[in-house]
């Protein structure tokens, strides 16, 4: 297992800043693996890990992978964008797996480790936000990005403004709209879907 190499990460981030798309997919893989590592360690340390936040994970991955003294360094927005995307992939796949398993097997298919169980509601919410982002991406990519960074990346509005290089006010207004829109969507999902 290759250990994270800060200089490699930094180089990739620089390439990405210069518009090298290839660097993005390599970085995504590195970030993805690092997130796994951090999550596993945290899971073991904290057991139930109820206090674990997406944002904490991402920031830790940033420190691990880049090791920069100056956290204002220019590659950071790329990094956060990719990290939020990685988190989204992970969560959506997990939610899909969980809900498939549940639907297929009822309550029989208990996971080996009890604490691995997540609730159906949680899975459904994640999937619904994901579908929302997909829909948004077609008409309003900026809004989709805000939701991704905020919901999956766990970033605050000011961080989102920094990453997207837009004003804080725009982020606030965008999020105000997006959350109402997502809620409207979700209430329809909840009403229409059968409850376990």
């Amino acid at each position: 297992m290759p250990k994270p190499d800060p200089s490699q990460t930094t180089k990739l981030l620089q390439q990405l800043s210069r518009g090298d798309k290839e660097a993005g997919s390599d970085l995504l893989r590195i970030i993805y693996e690092e997130l796994h590592r951090i999550a596993q360690r945290l899971m073991r340390q904290q057991g139930a890990a109820h206090t674990l936040q997406a944002t904490a994970l991402i920031h830790e991955a940033w420190i691990k992978l880049v090791h920069v003294e100056n956290p204002e360094w220019e590659g950071r927005e790329h990094f956060l964008r990719l990290a939020a995307k990685a988190m989204r992939c992970v969560l959506v796949d997990h939610a899909r797996a969980t809900s498939t398993l549940r639907r297929g097997e009822g309550r029989k298919a208990l996971p080996l480790e009890e604490e691995d169980a997540i609730s159906n509601d949680e899975a459904m919410r994640v999937l619904s936000v994901n579908e929302g982002i997909e829909s948004l991406a077609e008409v309003d990519p900026d809004l989709a990005q805000i939701v991704e960074l905020r919901f999956f990346g766990g970033l605050q509005n000011n961080e989102i403004a920094e990453v997207m290089q837009i004003s804080l006010r725009s982020v606030e207004r965008g999020w105000q709209f997006a959350r109402l829109w997502l809620k409207a969507r979700f209430s329809t999902f909840e009403g229409g879907d059968e409850k376990p």
Partner: protein
């Protein structure tokens, strides 16, 4: 789901109207609730669809204001889900070779386990996919080779490996090894099973034995597990264990890679079960004894519910140090979750032997380990011994030699069936089998001792430890027998001065006996009596008294008044009355008990003598010296043969008698008595025991009084030497010995030495923070004054003596003889310095006194 119904289904709205909608909503939100509708009418009168869209969103905003909003969207993705998702890999759908993935079963630090459906043959399997790819061709070859061997492993206790292969991970591009294994339905990890099923000790041990058998099966085929832990041992719905991941650690990578991953902090949970040699980078390859170690840890955890070492929040270096050198807390000291009581110490030995740091000292195979567990269950002597305990036991024996000897006697007495407990047992007409069992049990215990391991006396404690373990195991099975055993052990421990241990045994004994045999059963009553005696030893007088009264009532009812056992309990209540300062009641009860003892056992019986010694000290306490002398002299005389000079009762009697003799001026008698006591204590307690040192001091003092100054001097020197060796030098008692030594030297006119002696005496008192104005110090200042006077340093002598007088006069208690002696010394100084007026006054004063 019908797309048409979505209020936010963006494609219908189109990009332009969407932007409009966003702007409208933002503006509407800035308006007061009441004005919004009119504003909407105006702003989008011609576009009904747009209006509905914005209205719906506004309605949600309004609804939020009214009720406790569902805030999950604002909070972001659930934190625990993030962690869970991240700790598993995504194989949500799709195929791995012949296996259709149905979902995740769980994940660990190095792998994800999936549930999958095999197509040929059609069956459900568990697919374990490693998180780390195979990096070299070498590794690939080993993986194939090892997998083949694993496939040949067939045992009901081992989850079978059906096949193996590699899977190309799309994300990382790595070749990830996987194993398709037997799927165990409704499986639970071992620790959860034991916790939830609340298995009894026997059930747990039998489960553990099945695990050992399965591991042994692997070892016989040359396969080590290398990663045994509760999570790798599943229990199926019938309660049978199934070990998973057998040999997989080896198949997927060398142990050094394993350690590398460990260092990255990913599998700390596994570290608990790793033997020291697995953590040691320089060690030779692990052999089957690393599995023995892991099984030891598992047994520890099953018995106590906790892991042996606390590795939480430690660095890797600290973890390795802890496992390699940390102190292993005995399972029994942790308390036992399984049966709600303590783990028997024999199980301690088994766990400790399995978990020895050096593998040479562990069980040499899993079958040896399981053999010992089987022996434990069958009440047979074990291979395991209490490890590293001999040091403590030796120390204990040194301190309690007398009691240990007594216990040896007690054990022998048990075998011949003449102690209280076994007598009680016979009287109870328990089936002959019980008596038989008790005797053969104890014979077994004695036979199992290794005579070369420790000293002769040490074995007694080891025996008791072992017996306690057995008794524990029998609680549920044969309560009556177990009660008798607990009672016997409790009585023995009490005599050994192991009061805390005794308390536990006796409480068990009393509880088991009164429920299984009845509260008035002799065994129940004798454990109650011993329980009260133990509580007295522990200073819990009140509860001791309650239980003693209860035991007395019970015995009077069951045995009658004129019975040795009843009288023993009566004497115990007298002892308790004495410790409550109720001398009157104590005396009445001792007299009644003594009369019964004399009647039934003769005047030379231990009980009768003990009662007389107690009565003697009570007589002395209420000031009747002559009565005390009669009682004590008679007791000492009668006990010479029946108790022997070293019996604690005899020592108490002689010491009390000596203090009376000293007070009455019969110095020679006191010297004789104290010499005897000193010799006995040397023998049974050793030269450095506190009591021995005290007696030596008293003896030297008596010799001093008898004007045998040289003898006294020698004793004081000896005493100082021993205090030094015993590590109790810095103590005011040393100050006293130094002072007395100086006084002796002064008397012998060895003035220079005496001067030095006083200097060190006062230095010691200061060092031990003895109160400066205490009369004891004044006594040595007086000694110094006499020395100064001899040296012709009268001025200093006079000043010291005047000080001493003030101190003695102020001190509480009767110091008249000391005051007189000081005044005599002062008079001498006055005369020598020709202070005739002061001398005259003092002489007059002395004449009056």
């Amino acid at each position: 789901m019908n797309e048409e119904q979505h209020p936010g289904s963006s494609p219908e709205l189109g990009p332009d109207r969407w932007k409009l909608a966003r702007r409208l909503l933002e503006e509407a939100l800035d308006l007061p609730q009441a004005d919004r509708e009119a504003w909407l009418d105006k702003s989008c009168s011609e576009d009904e669809e747009l209006r509905t869209f914005v209205e719906n969103l506004l309605a949600i905003d309004g609804a939020e204001a009214d009720r406790d909003a569902d805030t999950w969207i604002d909070e972001g993705a659930p934190g625990d889900m993030v962690a869970r998702a991240l700790s598993q890999q995504d194989f949500a759908q799709g195929w791995i070779d012949d296996y259709r993935i149905q979902g995740a079963l769980g994940s660990g630090g190095t792998a994800t386990v999936l549930r999958a459906e095999q197509q040929h043959p059609k069956r459900i399997v568990a697919v374990k996919i490693m998180r780390f790819g195979i990096l070299s061709e070498n590794a690939q070859r080993r993986f194939e080779y090892e997998s083949e061997i694993l496939g040949s492993l067939r045992h009901p206790g081992i989850a079978q490996v059906y096949s193996s292969g590699t899977y190309k991970d799309a994300l990382s591009g790595q070749q990830l090894p996987y194993f398709a294994m037997e799927y165990i339905e409704d499986a639970r990890p071992l620790d959860l099973h034991v916790r939830d099923a609340k298995t009894t000790l026997n059930e747990t041990l039998s489960l553990f034995l099945q695990i050992c058998d399965a591991v042994h099966h692997g070892h016989q085929r040359g396969i080590l597990h290398r990663d045994l832990k509760p999570n790798n041992i599943l229990v199926d719905k019938e309660g049978h264990p199934k070990i998973i991941d057998f040999g997989i650690a080896r198949a997927i990578g060398s142990d050094s890679e394993h350690r590398e991953r460990t260092l990255q902090g990913e599998i700390v949970g596994t570290l608990h079960y790793m033997s020291p040699e697995q953590l040691d980078f320089d060690s030779q390859d692990p052999d089957l004894r690393c599995d023995v170690y892991a099984l030891g840890v598992i047994l520890y955890e099953l018995l106590t519910g906790v892991r042996p070492f606390d590795l939480e929040e430690r660095s890797m270096t600290e973890i390795i140090q802890t496992i390699d050198r940390g102190l292993l807390v005995r399972p029994s000291a942790r308390g036992m979750v399984l049966t709600g009581s303590r783990v028997a110490s024999e199980l301690d030995w088994i766990v400790q032997k399995a978990m020895e740091r050096e593998r040479e000292r562990r069980y040499s195979s899993v079958s040896d380990l399981s053999a010992d567990v089987r022996r434990f269950l069958a009440d047979e002597p074990l291979e395991a011994r209490p490890p590293r305990k001999t040091y403590l036991i030796r120390k204990f024996v040194k301190r309690h030699r007398l009691a240990v000897v007594a216990a040896t006697t007690l054990f022998l007495a048990l075998l011949t069936g003449i102690t209280i407990t076994s007598l009680a047992l016979r009287r109870a007409r328990l089936e002959a089998e019980t008596t038989q069992s008790l005797n053969s049990f104890l014979l077994d215990m004695i036979a199992s001792v290794d005579p070369y391991e420790d000293g002769r006396e040490v074995k007694v404690l080891a025996l008791i430890d072992r017996a306690a373990a057995k008794a524990q195991a029998l609680d549920g099975v044969r309560p009556a027998f177990a009660a008798t055993l607990h009672a016997t052990l409790g009585a023995t421990l009490l005599r050994l001065g192991q009061n805390d241990e005794a308390l536990l045994q006796l409480e068990d004994a009393w509880r088991l006996a009164s429920t299984s045999l009845g509260a008035d059963h002799p065994v129940a009553l004798s454990s109650l009596h011993d329980l009260a005696a133990t509580l007295y030893q522990l200073g819990k007088i009140e509860r001791a008294n309650d239980l003693a009264e209860k035991a007395y009532e019970g015995r009077r009812r069951a045995l009658g008044l004129r019975h040795v056992d009843t009288a023993k309990t009566l004497a115990l209540t007298a002892l308790l009355a004495n410790s409550r300062q109720d001398l009157e009641q104590a005396e009445t009860r001792y007299v009644r008990a003594r009369d019964i003892f004399v009647d039934l056992q003769g005047s030379e019986s231990q009980d009768a003598i003990q009662a007389d010694v107690a009565l003697g000290t009570i007589a002395l306490a209420r000031g009747s010296r002559s009565e005390a002398i009669d009682l004590l002299r008679s007791a000492i005389e009668r006990g010479k043969v029946s108790l022997g000079p070293e019996h604690p009762t005899m020592l108490t009697a002689k010491k009390t008698m000596a203090s009376i003799s000293l007070a009455e001026g019969r110095i020679d008698e006191a010297v004789a008595l104290l010499s005897e006591v000193e010799a006995s204590e040397m023998k049974v307690l050793g030269p450095h025991h506190g009591s021995t040192l005290q007696t030596l001091n008293n003896l030297a003092g008596a010799l001093q009084k008898a004007d045998r100054t040289e003898d006294a001097l020698q004793r004081y020197r000896d005493l100082l030497d021993r205090r030094q060796k015993a590590g109790v030098y810095k103590h005011y008692m040393t100050g006293i010995a130094l002072g007395n030594l100086a006084v002796c030297l002064e008397k012998l006119d060895r003035l220079e030495e005496a001067d030095e002696g006083f200097t060190s005496c006062f230095a010691m008192f200061r060092a031990s923070r003895f109160p400066e104005n205490h009369w004891v110090l004044a006594a040595y200042r007086k000694g110094l004054a006499v020395l100064r006077s001899k040296q012709g340093r009268f001025e200093e002598a006079e000043k010291l003596l005047v000080d001493c007088l003030t101190t003695f006069e102020k001190a509480s208690g009767d110091h008249s003889s000391r005051i007189r002696a000081t005044q005599m010394a002062l008079l001498e100084v006055y005369e020598k310095t020709q202070q005739s007026e002061l001398a005259h006054k003092l002489r007059e004063k002395l004449g009056k006194q």
